[in-house]
Symmetry: C2
Subunit: 322 residues, 2 copies
């Protein structure tokens, strides 16, 4: 366990609840990009205040506690963990991890965390594809895509993913069970690629990237298709005025298409059901996670940037302490 | 009754069923534009074959019949009426109008026809806004918009419409009960207009126009808003590559927005329920139609063009005979 406890001495962090926690693992997620744009809008998540650490989904160990529900040594999940080695955190959002669990801790930030829950809401709650449906998933090797694809396979669908490197294409086919995959840098005429991989059209598209790919998908949707949008990573580094406009929306009329954006936070009342189903899948090895764990809090920034360059392989997590 | 019966002698029209009908009234609808583009796509409606009359929703009188369910003099609705004074038509899609009805015939092409049914599906089936919801309707004085606004008012919503002339703004407020309306030619900064007319944001948008207005609406939607798309008249005269791209789709994620395109033909199993409810509203004068009836089959083309120039006032119908 490292760190000098500097956040303990920061008077701007209010002391509300549980006491001090040492950060063990923190999730590195694309949505953070949209919170640090310096403007409102897009994902409508609160902007981190200036001069405070940004927060993410983290796992920590309680060092001291003034809350009777938590004791020194407890391992806790905090959706609003400051990216800091130590921090004083309120008890409100903490969830204890059962110390007898045989599930490895990083899973609580991937399949059992935000990406897994997002994938579950997209596939189980919103998309809910029938067996045999043609499902397309972009950013298919990313935190959300990897679990969404596996969940869709468990529902008996034919699943194709797009991703940013040949290694990732191999990964989604070999480890996550995707039927097909393509590298969007190499097969960059999406219209041709989609015609090739979806000769029978697309019934469900889980959009994680937005922009041109979404536009082209709209030319390959089947009657009654469903497009579920969990994010648009290709657009996070642009201001709205410079974004790629989507021109094929009229197909939504002729094909009776439903398109639905969502934040997984709006479905928290179903988190318990999700966790139960996902833990079962993990124990049965029906869902396999893949983690890219970078070491040390100083790797956070580099880890974050890797989300936007196709250079990561698996869900990116920073290990701050053990 | 006029006409030289030339279609009777056209050997390319197969003789399947009922016999000859004289066309009395024919509906002039924007969707026809997308069927005559010379390419597949968009609304995915069948293209009319070359050298045959295009068809529309029409009302005719049976002149001769070889089908035992229809007799000379019957007044029938045919969703696939050739734009021709006389035609030989199959019985499959014909529906008889009760001769004892006190509902004026043009209503069967407006509130009880395609536009009314489209409005009903949009508001009653898909949008289903709660009382007090903020509802925005574009092309608000058009065939669909005029009934959609009235249906939303009957559900207790606050309804604002955009339309293409000051006369139409007056019409939707005075005759259709819209709370507010604006002329998009005059208030052409839609962002400013929407902020003015929707200080509390938009809960339901019935999109009949697409393009820039849809893009700007996405900046004014509330959490959980619903966008129902019945058509995109602003885009019908352009090819997809030249269309206005919609750039603000990412707001759908942050605001949990659902967007849904539809063709009313996909909801025909609910037509009976619709007709029953709408006839009741008409008899109670809770729904008021407004018709622009042009005379003579030769006015069909001009009537059609008027749909795209904001020059029509009310549902456009051509009266071919009485």
């Amino acid at each position: 366990m490292r760190g000098n406890g500097s956040f303990l001495r920061n008077p701007r962090i209010p002391f509300i609840g549980v006491g001090t926690a040492s950060l063990l693992l923190i999730s590195v997620d694309p949505y953070l990009r949209s919170t640090i744009t310096g403007r409102d809008g897009d994902l409508y998540l609160p902007r981190p205040p200036l001069n405070k650490a940004i927060t993410g989904f983290g796992i920590g160990r309680v060092v001291r506690s003034k809350n009777k529900n938590f004791n020194e040594g407890d391992i806790v999940i905090n959706p609003f963990s400051p990216v800091a080695e130590y921090s004083i955190v309120p008890a409100d959002f903490l969830r204890k991890i059962d110390p007898t669990t045989d599930i490895a801790l990083p899973n609580y930030l991937s399949c059992l965390g935000v990406p897994g829950f997002t994938a579950w809401v997209a596939i189980e709650v919103l998309g809910n594809p029938k067996p045999g449906s043609n499902v397309f998933i972009s950013a298919a090797a990313g935190g959300v895509g990897m679990f969404a694809g596996q969940l869709a396979k468990l529902k008996g669908c034919r699943v194709v993913g797009s991703t940013g490197s040949n290694d990732k294409v191999q990964l989604i086919k070999d480890e996550f069970g995707y039927d097909e995959g393509f590298n969007y840098h190499e097969e960059s005429d999406f219209d041709v690629a989609l015609a090739k991989y979806f000769p029978d059209g697309i019934d469900l598209y889980l959009d994680n990237v937005g922009g041109k790919l979404l536009d082209d998908v709209l030319n390959h949707v089947n009657k009654g298709a469903h497009i579920v949008i969990s994010g648009m990573i290709s657009q996070y580094n642009t201001i709205p005025a410079e974004r790629e406009g989507v021109k094929n929306l009229m197909n939504m009329v002729g094909k009776d298409v439903k398109m639905q954006g969502f934040l997984c936070g709006s479905y928290l009342n179903q988190f318990g059901e999700f966790a139960q189903q996902m833990e079962k899948y993990i124990k049965e090895e029906k869902i396999k996670p893949k983690h890219k764990i970078n070491q040390g809090i100083e790797s956070f920034f580099e880890s974050f940037v890797s989300l936007f360059s196709s250079s990561n392989l698996g869900k990116v997590i920073v290990q701050v302490a053990t």
